[in-house]
Symmetry: D2
Subunit: 329 residues, 4 copies
């Protein structure tokens, strides 16, 4: 199962891991090149997800390229950093047209940067697009600006970087109390409205959990509409984006997530999106990857025919008996 | 604001209100005609939502018609009852083709029944479509059956009852742990896929809350895609479908919900979807309607221009100052 | 590990399993004696939890005794049914002094009934004690009545049935939006206030999950205060009391729960508290028990010394490596 | 109602308000003296909550004293900062005995510092005491260390600063996934175990909401055990500690919270615990205080006798009618 996936890691795991109570972070600061050098110590890791223009930008492109090469890693995805203070009131949805244009320019440059690095995925997690209070925004305008922003970037990519896919990373909340691109359904709806094939979704296992989506079902739902572009893994307690290492909590739902990815023949990157505040980052990444691989291996022994029969009757007990074959034997 | 809305009530509020610990319910049993007769005691109520084939069906149609007339109420909507034991493993998504066809037939007959009663809304809340356990169902098949079911019913209605709109009432969960038609985004996505104008959504204020959608935003989102067909009101603690009377808890979000309905010029029914287990049903309905009306009246005094200015900057404090004008004066 | 525990099942699992949308339940009705006869088909089951006065009472005591004997089962616990319509506004907390006295009498008779059946546990899950709306109750009075009720019953048991322990089954909500005996902390607090050793807690794995307590920690917390009397198992999605079969979802937290029970040397009953709405009840019980046993068996291979070393540093990765030894080998 | 309360503000509201995505914060950095000078611009504010040893410590005590005086503010409470990187794995619960002792020393010095400032409240919010992963810690040891820590500090305060009350600020989670002092029940339980009258609770309106406690009930519960020492106000969406300005969301539950404080004759400080990431801090504080005051004023008109009658029957509708008198008139 899933023999063709490759593992990458969001570079943010290698930062000091700040939170609002310890803004300096729980670890020593380091440069992005050093973070990449640390990443190479993770077993089975082949890529890193970089952020533009923080971390990666036009002025350090060559250096990053050379550090990647030296570390035998590739850039699996370039994400736009549109969640800094500048965009506190929104990026694509900013009510300030000047800031909004800047945000869209950064997104376009992110696409360029991905192309420069021979990388096929540009990530748009619009962390500041949303709101916190009732009556704070005009929803009609907010959605209009958001959708127009995505359209503009997708059209740009179609023309300038046809190999680069735009990945909308949906998330229910944080840092905003309500985020615009909140769930799989809305993501598909606006992709359908815009109607361009290079716009799709990053599914994040943990975002699904605390958004009360079943991750395994969302894989299939997004795939139905050809919008499953990228995958993030981690874990949490189903209420918040705790970004724990993958496999540490929801083992059975994680197993089904891996199973779903195999069923839809997903062949892209499996990106680690974790925040190891108090753990050694290399070890936390190792755990995530090795847990994923161990699950994929367990699934090789799943009695597929019996499971199919159970599912054809929606029989939860018979389905679970199939699972017991691999988890308790 | 909202001068053209009319109030109706889901007939289930008038039942004994059972739960799993007291399946006989907290009140005396009664017949549907008597439930309608009780409903007429609710102030400002003009309609009731009936259920087919339980409660309303071909054999008691005339009786129901006459009781409605006598009570000076109309049928505002007819809902398909597709959540009884027969459909425990799914209605449109049933793995048993025979049961699935039955479900679709009931949905079509519900459309007929709506037409018979000169009512423009047929409701499909597919309470049993979903699953409870990991690995229990094949999601691809589940979605395929669900969407095909909706398409078949919408096509049928288009031909046989062009005035009847099909209202998908989405809900995150209960009675299933995961329900297929879970949220506004998925509802729009499948409506777009099916591409028929007579298929849309019932937004339920409480379903939004515990699905962690902001009800006021969902009004606008559904309206953007011309899928806002019907409205249900109630309240809850944002974790479960408590079906408390409207206005009892989330007053500010309720105010914004009413405000959003006015903004999109909603002119249909406001349907009470409450379960007054321990309250007098007429009083609980009165509270819901009078709270809605009181909110609409408060909103008449909202300083619209100031609010628009605040929203044009996403300024939460300035927006709240506008609210303070109406809630603390 | 845990060699001395025995399994019992709440008799309610064998009912038709009603919910508010299908109050007749998803299965055929049956008598309590027949439910007990069905229970004997569950592998490794030794006891049943009965309910007084519904199901078990003075008039059918002899019949129940003989059915139990014939089925080679014992009554592991007798629960007071204080959640029927009669107690819709509260049992120990009822504002109606007559109803409140009735509730306390039922609780006392429950103790008697336990004694009659040589059973050491009387269960008090006060499902109706709480409230649903802001401003609905006077909290001071509510707590006063609740605590006085527990005190009266515990004093009664101390005198009349010194072998019977009173088990408060705490739960955050359902059927009330807020329940008085909501969590482990409040349960310990009122047990300390009352100061009688025969008053303690039933910990329910699922209640902990959706109450956002960590079940394994609550075992230790209750044990610290000598209040861990009884244990219920099941599973859910951490938002509601779904009462799924044990082990079906939160495998790792379930493993730690079993581990905690072993650490505190728990030797009582493991009671199945499940609601198999759509599953064969015997199979759902089998799954619960066999999953528990399989977990206990896995834990026999846990590298205890390594785990102790990891825990002595709060090292999550090292601790998880110990877990990987038993779940992926 | 509540004529004797005074308002203070947690000094952290005046920082740049960092989060993990923007660790530099959403605003310009400033010194603590400047933060105090900003605080004086808040209307009706009389105090600030300071943090030791960050912000306030032995070396800047005189400066802080003079800035307070100049700003006509007092220190309403001194909180121990035990949530910095040093205590990442726990403060009172640290597995490292050296760090644990340091934490306890900081807590004792916090008491001293309170005394020095003629302030009667020392706050202990032990943000790092808890854990994130299953099997990460030994719960028995964790609780032992936590309780012993509180006992040691309370004994110290009893002897050295008899006017200073130790306020445990309980919170379900964040920054840890599970925090030791999680809820009102556990706080009372350990206060009872320790048995010292100078140890009690800070109730935080928002912590209650996302801990699924009803704030108004928790006020009464803590008061029952003489453990209601301090009060924090803010608001959130009942899932996370959003720290929005007070009154912005849960108006009815906030009203009942203020009502409960009046009922138990609370006469201490009302402390603003907000994080205005994107708002002007002075305005956000103004909103919080003025909303609180407006609610207290509304409550003056509450028909107390009618409400008492409704509550004596647990009648939600009658109780709500009393509320309608003040919110819709």
């Amino acid at each position: 199962m899933l023999k063709k996936v490759r593992f990458s890691a969001g570079i943010w795991a290698f930062t000091p891991c700040a939170d609002r109570f310890e803004p300096k972070g729980y670890k020593e600061p380091s440069t992005v090149p050093d973070q990449i050098r640390t990443a190479k110590n993770v077993k089975d890791l082949e890529g890193v997800i970089l952020q533009y223009p923080t971390g990666l930008n036009e002025s350090n492109l060559d250096e990053i390229r050379s550090v990647l090469k030296e570390s035998k890693l590739v850039a699996s995805q370039v994400d736009a950093n549109l969640f800094s203070r500048r965009f506190a009131n929104g990026s694509f949805t900013s009510p300030d047209e000047k800031i909004r244009k800047e945000a869209i320019e950064i997104a376009k440059s992110t696409v360029n940067m991905a192309k420069e690095l021979n990388c096929n995925y540009a990530g748009l997690w619009l962390g500041q697009d949303g709101y916190d209070y009732p009556f704070q925004v005009n929803y009609k305008d907010l959605w209009e600006r958001e959708i127009n922003g995505f359209r503009e970037v997708a059209l740009y990519a179609q023309e300038k970087a046809p190999n680069v896919k735009i990945c909308i990373e949906y998330k229910l909340k944080e840092p905003r109390c309500y985020m615009t691109m909140a769930d799989a359904g809305k993501t598909v709806a606006i992709c359908q409205e815009i109607g361009l094939p290079n716009l799709g979704a990053t599914i994040d296992f943990g975002h699904c959990l605390f958004g009360q989506e079943n991750p395994a079902e969302s894989v299939v739902f997004l795939h139905r509409y050809n919008r499953l572009f990228a995958v993030h893994i981690n874990d949490n307690y189903a209420y918040w984006d705790d970004d724990l290492f993958f496999g540490s909590l929801h083992m059975l739902q994680a197993l089904e997530f891996v199973y779903s990815l195999a069923k839809v023949k997903y062949e892209g990157w499996i990106g680690l999106d974790i925040f190891p505040y108090r753990e050694d980052v290399v070890q936390a990444c190792n755990m995530s990857i090795q847990n994923f691989k161990a699950m994929a291996k367990l699934l090789d022994k799943l009695p597929e025919r019996d499971l199919g029969r159970a599912q054809s009757k929606h029989d939860a007990v018979e389905a679970f008996k199939c699972l017991r074959e691999i988890i308790f034997k």
